[in-house]
């Protein structure tokens, strides 16, 4: 694991380490099984084509989990992911890079917790944002 990040290290306006995910079709089936979302649009290409899509698409909640992975990796063992939200703005397809990103928008202390707010999003290979959202995490303080 990477070194622990501290509240004092964070600057408003800075980006956190991005995470590139490239979901395979196998992974969509694995996610369907693990999460319980067995909607065919995510693994049955015939079904996806009949639904007017060009291919199967990633589960929105899998993409939300990728953002969760980015956030929990960044905050480390001593951080807590308290809250996050997403809006699905575009579809994503397997075997393409999906880049998860985050940017610090605010930091403050509340009830003795050192909190950081971020904008979070995913980008497709064309650079379009397919998810936008925000997150609140707590981080340890050095003091």
């Amino acid at each position: 694991m990477a070194e622990q990040v501290f509240y004092e290290d964070i600057e408003v306006g800075s980006e956190i380490p991005s995470l590139v995910k490239r979901a395979t079709r196998r992974q969509l089936v694995q996610w369907a099984g693990a999460s319980g979302d067995t909607y065919e649009i995510h693994y049955d290409k015939d079904f996806a084509l009949a639904s007017g899509l060009s291919d199967v698409i990633l589960h929105g909640r899998l993409k939300a989990s990728f953002l969760g992975q980015m956030l929990t990796t960044w905050i480390g063992l001593e951080g807590n992911l308290k809250k996050y939200n997403v809006r699905y703005r575009g579809m994503d397809f397997p075997d393409q890079d999906l880049t998860c990103k985050g940017k610090v928008t605010k930091k403050y202390v509340e009830n003795n917790e050192h909190l950081v707010e971020l904008d979070i999003w995913t980008e497709n290979p064309q650079g379009e944002k397919t998810i936008t959202g925000s997150a609140v995490v707590s981080l340890p303080a050095k003091g």
């Binding site: 694991m1 693990a34 319980g36 065919e40 992975q69 807590n80």
Partner: protein, 167 residues
């Protein structure tokens, strides 16, 4: 057969309806399958020896496990027709002539870590139904709120999801 037109008023009568309680035990195997599917190598979800030395004292589920559909709807009947999606409340009434359904987004709030052995129970209610006009015609937004408690009846998480139906 001509159906009586379903109005927004009719649909909104469902607001407040609660679905059945869904109880799930947080097991190591379940966490393992979940983080394997996400492809998240964090040892806190995977490696007992590593996790033992942390403040958690053992493997925990990643907080984003709350995204999983299993907390929203019971497992789908394998014999259900293709395209069937579980609904968070029973016999949920949809608008007429639905052309498509999309997950609009979600919000997840985590209050306590999910530990191996926790037995968590989720309940979902329809919190709001509203209509918008978009490029693709009429859109109906179904907002579902899920409250999740553990075996000690402590709130561990809260989730809000928005389903968009195109008609």
């Amino acid at each position: 057969m001509t159906e009586k037109e379903v109005t927004l008023e009719d649909l909104r009568k469902q607001i407040g309806i609660e679905g059945p309680a869904i109880t799930v035990e947080i097991e190591k195997g379940m966490i393992g399958r979940f983080v394997h599917a996400v492809d998240d190598p964090n040892p806190l979800w995977r490696d007992e020896e590593y996790a033992k030395k942390t403040k958690y004292g053992g493997i925990i589920a990643p907080p984003y496990l709350i995204c999983a559909a299993m907390f929203l709807t019971p497992p789908t009947d394998p014999k259900a027709p293709a395209g069937y999606m579980g609904s968070p409340v029973p016999n949920m009434q949809f608008p007429q002539n639905v052309k498509g359904v999309l997950d609009g987004g979600g919000e997840w709030e985590m209050f306590k870590p999910l530990k191996v052995g926790d037995v968590i129970t989720s309940r979902t209610k329809l919190a709001n139904i509203y209509e918008r006009r978009g490029k693709m015609g009429k859109m109906y937004f179904y907002v579902a709120e899920t409250n999740i408690v553990n075996q000690r009846n402590e709130q561990v998480a809260k989730a809000t999801g928005t389903l968009i139906l195109y008609a």
